[in-house]
């Protein structure tokens, strides 16, 4: 049981490689029956006392040679916070404990590692390994491009060095309606809120449109009433008109 577990855990590490070397680290605990796991990778490590740590060290020195350099630079000029070469952030030795505790408990005590490397910003700036291109390797067109030195997995476009072009064709989106620009945005937070607002306004607008339509559908009684009112208004106007002095004078 435990054998199997130990076997799979380092593999888990490998899968995330440079990307998550310590971000999602699985905590290790020494086995109580250490003599039994002789063939295991963890115990077969060099005898430095802290095998897990030294492996990680070596691992780091391979994957991140630059960050280890910056580490030494940091120790040399202690008063000025050095800038990390990978993520362009200042290295603060004091911030060690605060940041690391949350991320991983095991390494907090061991001061050999600068916790800066485990910060999210730093991790994101590391070069990642990428999955290979989806292009079908048997394609005639790919063969041609490869023969002129283009590598589909290199993640660069075509063109003169330094001026490479796009890597994926431009995608079009079919627009079959006449919805205005910005009104059919994606599920962006800001936009969805706006969308809700629009819908409400639209509903209101529709309601407004519907109202006069409803008036036309009055029942007989209401029509009679409206008719009466209109007549009364007309009479009032007539009255006002004919009762004006000058008009009456004119009419004699």
């Amino acid at each position: 049981m435990s054998d199997e577990e130990d076997y799979f855990l380092p593999l888990e590490d490998q899968r995330v490689f440079g990307a998550g070397i310590r971000r999602k680290r699985v905590p290790f605990v020494r086995s109580s029956e250490h003599e039994l796991n002789t063939t295991n990778a963890t115990t077969a490590a060099p005898n430095t006392g802290r095998p897990g740590l030294s492996i990680a060290d070596k691992y780091l020195s391979i994957v991140m040679p630059k960050s280890s350099q910056s580490k030494t630079a940091n120790s040399a000029t202690e008063q000025k916070p050095a800038i990390c070469e990978v993520c362009n952030l200042p290295l603060y030795p004091s911030s060690t404990t605060t940041t690391t505790t949350t991320i991983d408990n095991n390494y907090e005590s061991t001061d050999t590692h600068k916790p800066h490397e485990s910060s999210l910003a730093h991790q994101l700036c590391l070069t990642h390994s990428h999955p290979p291109s989806h292009l079908d390797r048997t394609r005639h067109g790919l063969r041609y491009l490869s023969s002129y030195g283009w590598d589909p997995d290199s993640r660069v476009g075509l063109g003169a060095p330094g001026r490479e072009g796009i890597r994926e064709p431009i995608k079009g989106r079919l627009k079959a309606d006449t919805v205005g620009l910005g009104a059919d945005g994606d599920s962006d937070d800001d936009e969805s809120r706006r969308k809700v607002g629009i819908k409400r306004r639209e509903r209101e607008k529709k309601a407004e449109k519907n109202r006069p339509a409803r008036v036309e559908k009055l029942n007989a009684k209401e029509i009679r009433k409206g008719d009466l009112e209109a007549r009364r208004r007309g009479e009032k106007l007539k009255e006002m008109f004919y009762q004006r002095e000058d008009v009456q004078k004119y009419l004699g």
């Binding site: 292009l135 067109g141 030195g149 075509l158 072009g165 079919l174 205005g180 620009l181 910005g182």
Partner: protein, 770 residues
């Protein structure tokens, strides 16, 4: 200056002039005799005789000209380029020319031009750059002394023609003599020509046969900001050519201020900017996104009409249908406003590419006068596609309404479909549109979107055409230009690898490229034709099917705009007329029937009436006729036989359909087992429907199509029934059954292969028996 000329000044006038030219050969002209004497002697002779006539001209030294010297020559009595006295018209034009903004910077331009091999020139529309800069160059480069020419490219044919015409007038010479133009299917130049306006595509074609462009001393790429495919390829090519030809000078002219990109691309070439004659434009946004941009646009136009000062309105919409619809609505509403609110009269004109020229011309009519003296002023509204954005300028526009959309071509290499989609415009495009409002006086631009949308949703620059198109013809051109390393070819914006791969594969299937990607004999031949490779291959292989005459007609008809006219009010009648020509086997054959009927003596008696009666576009048919003639010349030059199967032969139509397969075997769809009219495209597996316009009368299991139309549904348009046996026979590599996945298509192909084998056996058997 140039832009004021409408798109509409089409071939008609130019063609007439061409005829006039052939009537009077300049060599017979006694006044010009000296020129031909000099042509054969040394280059300087030309100079000397001219210098006598125009003393100022004698002072000109190549690449030493100053603005003052050039002015003296221009003010002289005798035209230094053809030795004739200047006309009165010339003098009056000269004055207006000197008022153009570029003129003020002539010295500056000349100094930079003399100093460096490549120059980037930025001048907004209206600065006069297209007409004046090439003339500035002529006075300094003096190409006639070197036996060379100056070329100025234009993205559009109409622009090349109309600008050449204008410049010929400015230089006081006949179009086609010292100043000429060259566009696809029409060459209006002579050996005397020293300034040649041409489409960028034409210059690219010339480069294919002369890859150092040795006949030019200066090449001007105008409207480079439009980033057409040909301009992009030319820029990449010229970048290489300048290294081989230090004597060649290049000027890149752009109308927008993203010129730094050009500068950087051309090894930090010097840049000269000339301000245009523009006025400030106030920009307005909507506070909220609009639910319906068409409706909002119409409302905005009416609002402007009701409340803004005098000045014409330009509204940008996306397509013909939308435009016509809006024009109708605006006219109706405006009438009501006039009656009820005493608004001024409003005239509304549509503008789009497929509009007949005389209708396009109408946009230049002045705004209507007030209904009564002292009444509210009249206004004109132009509802236009993108054409009005850069290509042509309409004076008097003060208000621009911009919904932020345009129809843009996009190519999807995975399903090999090129389609026109309504898409948001770019920021640069929006600014260009706004700028249209400030041509005559300060203007206003109403954007029907929020400022946030402008900043967030619009891309900075419109994607260049090269990134949005099928590249097969471009790749063929590049291969012909001798550029094999397509990976590292230095384009300003290289295409996506997948798009390029698709193009290479298509050309390989068409046998234009061999398996190693080398140009084949067929490919070399196909590149001679200014056509899509599939069409070119179809044309080249048509003699094998005994129907090159017919295929040539069909090719010509497929290269021109739609020949069938279907006005909204008379759809039924139009369809009836179309059915007169219908061939049960499909639309390609129907097109052929139309063409044959059009060429009949009965129709030729009065083609205009005949086309009108039959709901056909005379313009399209005439240009098809012209294209056919031009292609015929290329075919004859390439020694391709013009043959026909006798019409009585029952294989007449079958041969044509087979020949169609030779070019379009990659555009085939097979009927689905269920669903009426439902098809699935071969290899790309797209579900498609037959376009409702098809005349195909039989239940065809396999069809070949000319066009994939992407709308809410996927349609294939212009279809003809074919047989899988033909496909297996004609394109065995593409229809290699082993590459097809199990399914309907594969089993149908297998059955066809069996039938073929059986037939083969039958043919073999009788001989055995004997």
């Amino acid at each position: 200056m140039v832009d004021r000329r409408p798109e509409t000044e089409d071939g008609s006038r130019a063609k007439r002039q061409k005829m006039a030219k052939t009537e009077t050969d300049p060599k017979d002209n006694p006044y010009l005799a000296h020129m031909y004497a000099d042509e054969n002697s040394n280059g300087n002779g030309w100079d000397d005789s001219m210098a006598e006539k125009n003393p100022a001209y004698g002072k000109l030294k190549r690449h030493r000209t100053t603005a003052q010297l050039a002015k003296d020559v221009e003010d002289g009595e005798i035209n230094p380029f053809n030795g004739q006295p200047f006309s009165n018209k010339y003098v009056s034009i000269l004055q207006t020319r000197r008022d153009l903004p570029v003129h003020a910077q002539r010295d500056e331009f000349l100094q930079l031009y003399q100093k460096s091999q490549i120059l980037v020139f930025v001048g907004e529309t209206g600065s006069g750059k297209t007409t004046q800069i090439p003339q500035f160059v002529l006075f300094d480069d003096l190409p006639q002394t070197q036996g060379k020419q100056v070329a100025c490219t234009q993205p559009r044919r109409v622009a090349a023609m109309s600008v050449a015409q204008r410049v010929a007038a400015e230089m006081d010479c006949k179009l086609g003599d010292e100043v000429g133009y060259s566009i696809r299917f029409e060459d209006m130049t002579s050996p005397k020509t020293i300034l040649k306006y041409m489409t960028d595509g034409m210059l690219l074609r010339e480069a294919m046969n002369d890859n150092t462009l040795s006949r030019y001393s200066t090449i001007i790429l105008d409207e480079a900001h439009e980033r057409t495919m040909a301009t992009d390829v030319l820029m990449g090519l010229l970048k290489e050519v300048v290294e081989r030809r230090p004597d060649l000078k290049i000027i890149i002219m752009s109308a927008t201020l993203d010129a730094q990109k050009f500068q950087k691309y051309f090894m930090d070439a010097p840049l000269l900017a000339v301000p245009g004659r523009t006025h400030p434009v106030e920009i307005f946004y909507t506070p909220e996104p609009e639910q319906d941009y068409v409706e909002a646009a119409i409302r905005t136009v009416l609002q402007i009409h009701a409340s803004e000062d005098e000045g014409d309105i330009l509204l940008f919409l996306t397509g013909e249908e939308e435009i016509e619809d809006s024009v109708r609505k605006i006219a109706l509403e405006a009438d009501e406003m006039m009656r009820e609110a005493d608004a001024g009269p409003l005239k509304c004109y549509p503008l789009y590419g497929s509009l007949p020229p005389h209708m396009q011309q109408r946009i230049f009519e002045p705004a209507p006068a007030p209904r009564r003296p002292g009444g509210r002023p009249g206004r004109k509204v132009i509802v236009s596609t993108n054409i009005a954005e850069t290509s042509l300028t309409i004076d008097g526009i003060v208000y621009v309404v911009d919904p932020g959309f345009s129809k843009q071509k996009i190519y999807n290499p995975r399903i090999r479909v090129e389609s026109l989609l309504v898409s948001p415009i770019s920021k640069a495009s929006a600014q260009q549109r706004a700028g249209r409002a400030g041509r005559t006086r300060p203007g206003k631009c109403f954007r029907l979107y929020t400022e946030a949308a402008f900043k967030k949703e619009l891309i900075d620059q419109t994607y260049p055409e090269l990134l949005r198109s099928n590249l097969s013809s471009t790749v063929l051109e590049l291969k012909k230009l001798g550029i094999d390393d397509l990976v590292h070819f230095d384009l300003m914006d290289p295409p996506a690898p997948e798009t390029l791969m698709r193009a290479l594969e298509e050309l390989n299937y068409l046998a234009c490229l061999d398996d190693d990607g080398n140009l084949t004999q067929l490919g070399r031949l196909a590149s001679e034709f200014p056509l899509d490779p599939a069409l070119a291959v179809m044309l080249i292989s048509s003699p094998e099917f005994y129907c090159s005459n017919e295929i040539l007609s069909i090719t010509a008809l497929l290269s021109v705009p739609q020949v069938f006219v279907r006005p909204a009010s008379q759809r039924k009648r139009a369809d009836e007329m179309k059915n007169l020509f219908a061939h049960p086997d499909g639309d390609h054959l129907t097109l052929l029937n139309v063409y044959h009927a059009f060429k009949s003596p009965e129709a030729q008696e009065n083609p205009k009436q005949w086309c009108h009666d039959h709901f056909l576009s005379l313009r399209s048919l005439q240009s098809a006729d012209n294209v056919r003639l031009q292609l015929l010349r290329i075919m004859e030059r390439s020694e391709l036989d013009m043959v026909s199967t006798p019409f009585e032969d029952k294989r007449y139509y079958e041969n044509i359909r087979r020949a169609l397969c030779a070019g379009f075997f990659m555009q085939v769809a097979k009927k689905e087992t269920q669903g009426k009219n439902q098809y699935i495209t071969i290899k790309d597996n797209q579900n498609v429907l037959l376009h409702p316009s098809t005349v195909l009368a039989i239940e065809a299991e396999w069809v070949l199509y000319n066009e994939f139309v992407l709308t809410t549904k996927n349609y294939i348009r212009t279809v003809t029934a074919v047989k899988p046996e033909w496909l297996l026979d004609i394109a065995p590599t593409y229809y290699d059954i082993s590459t097809f996945a199990k399914g309907d298509v594969r089993s149908s192909l297998l059955r066809a292969a069996e039938r073929l084998a059986r037939k083969e056996k039958m043919r073999a058997d009788p001989s055995k028996r004997r």
